[in-house]
């Protein structure tokens, strides 16, 4: 085996220029894919982080049917205390959950006594909400980084349009489930920026204030937002919640809860998918580069060495050994390309991180690109390259092993 590998490597470097050219092509391909994967992964994780850690949370639980009419913020589809208790019990049994926040959401009219406009209000327990969406505090651009009872966090654009500032008095008027209207006076505690850029109308108040405005007899909520310890546990936790809460039915046998991950709750998931599809096509391009370049080298090698193949076959080398000899050449080319590509790609990532490339996403300005790559990705890309190189070398190698010695010896 060692001799076989030795001969294969010597044969590769017999045509030094061609081998180095092919190896460079594979190296650059692997390095490019690694850099692309690391940059897109970094961008993806920052984008997902911005969305989930600022507003959505990783998973949300609602009463069945709520999400379908989420734009109306339907109060008749709130979770009742008994149902909330069931949710909390289920969450207590799952260790991968870091925090959760019950929210009461409703629409209202915001007035500064001069003008009035519509507003979407999130009534939350500040401690639980900050633990579930830790970037909320950084979104408060003026005022205290919390939500006190009697205070309201006003969306930035709304505050600017109505010339509202921190410390001003404002009134929120809302209609409850029974249709009765109630008004409540707030002090503007802060101005909150929107996650997805200008246009957001989501304000925040304390959950107790929300219940008072809506005159709720019992502490019902619209949704429970959940934060996981690690995003990688998303599918696992969702499956466990589906197993417990998803099976809960009402007396008429219909499901009580609906469980959604962040992917179902934001259109940005489509952007994430687009990035994944682009990454997939970039990997396909790499496969094509390796396949064509290695196959080209191997076809040329078999053609140029036909007489030599005839000689070793005449001496008594078994067809399987001849096949192995050429397969090892493809394999060696793949390994050398994958290793040098990984080294070059890793260096490029280090340089990229050291140069602190900045970008913006939504309201978040000056985010620093933190490109990093999962060792599993490195291993997968390396293995793909090596496997494709072997595959590319196999056809010419098979042809070499099937050559008739007498024909091969006649080859000029």
């Amino acid at each position: 085996m060692f001799k076989l590998v030795k001969i294969a490597i010597r044969n590769l470097f017999r045509y030094r220029r061609r081998t180095l050219l092919t190896m460079s092509l594979i190296t650059i391909g692997v390095a490019f894919v690694l850099v692309f994967v690391s940059v897109t992964a970094s961008f993806k994780s920052m984008m997902v982080g911005e969305i989930t850690d600022s507003m959505l949370g990783h998973i949300q639980i609602h009463k069945k049917g709520y999400v379908a009419s989420i734009d109306n913020l339907p109060l008749n589809l709130n979770l009742k205390p008994g149902q909330l208790q069931k949710v909390e019990n289920a969450l207590a049994g799952i260790p991968k959950i870091e925090a959760y926040s019950p929210r009461l959401k409703f629409g209202g009219v915001f007035s500064n006594f001069v003008d009035s406009t519509n507003v979407r209000l999130n009534a939350v327990d500040p401690e639980k909400e900050m633990a579930t969406v830790p970037l909320l505090a950084s979104r408060i651009i003026n005022g205290k980084k919390t939500i006190e009872p009697g205070e309201i966090l006003v969306p930035e654009l709304l505050a600017r349009g109505m010339k509202v500032e921190v410390g001003d008095i404002a009134v929120v008027v809302a209609t409850n489930e029974d249709g009765s209207v109630n008004g409540y006076q707030f002090t503007v505690g802060g101005i909150v920026s929107s996650v997805t850029g200008p246009g957001g109308r989501d304000g925040y108040i304390h959950i107790e204030d929300g219940r008072q405005i809506l005159r709720l007899d019992e502490p019902e909520v619209s949704e429970v937002a959940i934060r996981l310890e690690k995003l990688a546990a998303l599918d696992d936790v969702e499956a466990r919640l589906q197993e417990t809460l998803g099976r809960e039915t009402n007396p008429s046998g219909k499901p009580v809860f609906e469980i959604h991950t962040w992917k179902k709750l934001t259109p940005f998931f489509n952007v994430v998918r687009m990035i994944d599809i682009m990454t997939f096509f970039i990997k396909l391009m790499l496969i094509a580069i390796v396949l064509i370049s290695v196959m080209n080298v191997m076809i040329m090698a078999v053609y140029e060495r036909t007489r030599e193949i005839g000689t070793i076959a005449a001496i008594g080398t078994l067809p399987g050994r001849i096949l192995s000899l050429f397969v090892f050449e493809g394999l060696s080319l793949g390994i050398l390309g994958a290793v040098s590509g990984t080294v070059l790609g890793s260096l490029a990532i280090v340089v990229l991180n050291a140069s602190k490339v900045r970008f913006s996403f939504g309201r978040a300005q000056g985010l620093i690109l933190n490109a990093g790559i999962d060792p599993i990705d490195v291993l997968t890309i390396g293995l793909i390259v090596i496997a494709v190189a072997v595959l590319a070398g196999f056809r010419p190698a098979f042809r070499a092993s099937r050559l008739e010695p007498v024909e091969a010896l006649r080859h000029v």
């Binding site: 001799k3 076989l4 017999r14 030599e308 000689t311 001496i315 008594g316 080398t317 008739e404 007498v406």
Partner: protein, 238 residues
């Protein structure tokens, strides 16, 4: 006892719709340990006959037996195994493997064909490269050798597995007279030491003068067989 017997061997080559008969009804026997040459002009069928004896090709008709084996019955794999065990080849253009050193070229059949242990391998290879006089060049690559040195390596490679038979196709064609004479002496010496049968295809009179039996081919037919004493064994199929 005959090491090789050929009975009514014919070989046809087809090129498109044209079929050319390269050998016609050739029969002969070759004793083990003999030094034999097939002579004749270009296109007389010498190389074709050597390819058939060497299990590199199959006769269209007739039968060739080498060391008791009907070579026509060997498939690709068994043909390779048979050649590795019984036959050594020496080519006109030496056909050394360019990426291997002299030592590695001679060692190749022991590693890749016979799987001999490294200790036995080293002993056998060193013995042979000393015997053929190229020990000083053992770490050189073929492109660093002269034609005579290359052919010595080829002889050593052909003999390293101690085959019953060595087939040499025009082994002196690319060598000067002095080198050719040394190579012929070397092969005769190796025959005397190892008892290997040597069969040449040649029209080099230096080889013809050195062999014990001369088979003459013309237009694919065996027309004459003569031993070193000049005794003709009879004309065949004229």
């Amino acid at each position: 006892m005959d090491l090789i017997t050929a009975e009514n061997v014919c070989k046809d080559y087809s090129t498109g719709k044209v079929t050319v008969r390269a050998l016609e009804d050739v029969s002969f026997g070759i004793d083990a340990g003999s030094f034999v040459s097939f002579v004749g002009p270009s296109g007389s069928g010498k190389t074709t006959l050597l390819n058939l004896i060497g299990c590199l090709d199959r006769p269209t008709q007739g039968k060739i037996t080498v060391a008791g084996t009907d070579v026509q019955r060997l498939d690709r794999r068994n043909g390779a195994l048979f050649r590795g065990k019984n036959i050594g080849f020496i080519f006109q253009d030496f056909n050394l493997i360019p990426v291997l050193t002299v030592y590695e070229n001679v060692e190749y059949p022991l590693v890749m064909v016979k799987g001999v242990e490294i200790k036995d391998r080293r002993k056998r290879v060193m013995e042979l490269i000393e015997e053929v006089g190229i020990a000083a060049e053992k770490d050189k690559y073929p492109d660093q050798l002269s034609g005579g040195q290359k052919q010595r390596v080829a002889v050593a490679r052909a003999l390293v597995t101690a085959p019953k038979l060595v087939l040499a196709d025009e082994p002196t064609a690319n060598l000067d007279s002095q080198t050719a004479a040394r190579i012929i002496d070397l092969m005769k010496k190796m025959r005397d030491i190892q008892g290997t049968t040597f069969i040449f295809s040649t029209h080099d009179m230096r080889i013809v003068g050195a062999v014990e039996v001369i088979h003459t081919l013309r237009d694919g037919k065996l027309v004459d067989t003569e031993n070193s004493t000049g005794t003709k064994e009879g004309e065949h199929h004229v």
